[in-house]
Assembly symmetry: C2
Homo-oligomer: 81 residues x 2
């Protein structure tokens, strides 16, 4: 079972990486951009078929290790292939 | 109009960052993982309402600047809010 995790800086936290990408794209002539936010994306494959259990483990992993919940938000999508 | 871009290493390319996360999670006791792949995620907000045009611009940006298409694949989702 596969889990897709998005980790983004909270919307009120400055995103220097996104800002750098935005500036670079403007310099390349892409003038129709308003804003860029950059985050992390993880695809995790589990040896486990219980959706609720996989979601619980993924959430614990995010809180414990993958995300800094002081400044980051995460979303978890469990994909039943 | 918002665009969501996922950039991942091609599946046949070694992903050291994903491997490091996988190893760390195993050390923390998460033993039900098979595999972890880590990628980049961007949310780009456009001042433009033509879906086809936004998709074309986003694709060009990925090819030109955001992704290294030799080793990376990208997917673009145009979100009509």
């Amino acid at each position: 079972m596969k889990v897709r995790i998005h980790i983004m800086l909270k919307s009120n936290v400055l995103d220097p990486q996104g800002k750098a990408v935005s500036n670079a794209l403007h310099h390349l002539g892409y003038s129709t951009l308003n804003d860029v936010r950059q985050g992390k994306y993880l695809e995790i494959d589990f040896r486990e078929s219980n959706t609720a259990k996989v979601r619980r483990i993924a959430e614990q992993m995010c809180r414990e290790f993958l995300a800094n919940t002081v400044i980051e938000d995460f979303t978890i999508d469990v994909v039943c292939v």
